[in-house]
C-alpha cells in the first residue's frame, strides 16, 4: 500500500475544491482500486516466482 501513498495524496489534491459527490466518490474509489491492483500484482508476481523456481523443475 505504501507505494500508492503518492497516488492517495494526488487523489486528495484532486478532490480539494470539488463539490460534486459523484465526482468525489469516483476519485476516492481510485485509491482502493490502486490498492487492489498492487495486492494482486504482488500475489501474481509471487506465484510466478514460485512456479518458475519450483523444485520439480530442478
Amino acid at each position: 500500500m505504501e507505494e500508492n501513498a503518492w497516488l492517495n495524496q494526488e487523489v486528495n489534491n484532486l478532490k480539494k475544491g470539488e463539490t460534486s459527490f459523484k465526482l468525489l466518490s469516483i476519485l476516492e474509489g481510485t485509491k482502493s482500486l490502486a490498492a487492489e491492483q498492487s495486492k494482486r500484482l504482488q500475489q501474481a508476481q509471487d506465484e510466478l516466482d514460485g512456479r518458475t523456481w519450483s523444485p520439480d523443475k530442478w
Partner: protein, 233 residues
Amino acid sequence: MKTLVIVSHPEYDNSMTESFLNQCQNDIEEVDWLVLDHLENNYEFDVDEEQKRLVKYDRILFQFPMYWYSSPALLKKYEDDIFTRSFTYANEDGKLKDKELGIITTLGEPLKNYTVGGSEGFSINEILKPYQALAFKAGMKFIKPFTVDQFAYMTDDEKSKLLVDYRNYLTNEDINGFGSKQRWYLSQLKQLRNNLSSEKQAKLDIIIDYLQDNYDRLDEIKWELDMIKKEED
C-alpha cells in the same frame, strides 16, 4: 449496453435510499429509470407498451425494498401482467432470451443477519430464488444480486463506495471480473476528467496512466502464469 432499472417502492417519493440511488445514475445515458409507482394506473399496466420497453434493454434490474422476503406487491403485479407466457418462455417467443436479470434490494436489517443461523435465517440468494427461476424460464442470465443494507446508518465514506459499486452494477458489462472492473473504472475516470480544470486534468492523466500500466502488467503476468500452468498440465 442498455440498462433498465425498474423501481418498486410504495413510499418512493419519501425514500432517501431511492433518492440517493437515483442521483447515483441520473447522468448515465445508457441507463433508464422506471418507477412503477408512478407508472401504474389503477394498479394496471399497459402490457403491450411495457413489453416493447423491456425488449430494448440488455440488462433489466428490479429494484425494491425487501418486504416480507419479497418485493412490494406492485412489482409482482408488473411481473404477472407483463411477463406473459409466450413473451417470456425461452422456448416460445422468448423475447427476453439472453438478456440479463438482476435484483437490487434494500434492507432495513444488516446483511450479515441474512444467513443460516442468523436472525433472518435465510440468505439473500435463497430469498431471491423466484427471480432466478423467472430468469431461468426466460433464458435470461441471472446476475448476482446487489444489496443495500441499512442505508440510513451509512457514513459518507460508505455512501461514496455505494455510489461507485452501484454505477458499476448498472453499467459494467462483466460485474464479476477484476479485469473488467479496472477497465470500467478507467472509463469512469476518463469521463469525469472533463469536469476538472486543465491543471487537474493533467494530474488525473498521470493517475490514469499509472492504473492502466498496472492493468497491463497484471494482464501480462496472468498470461505468463497461464502459459506455465498449461506446460505443467
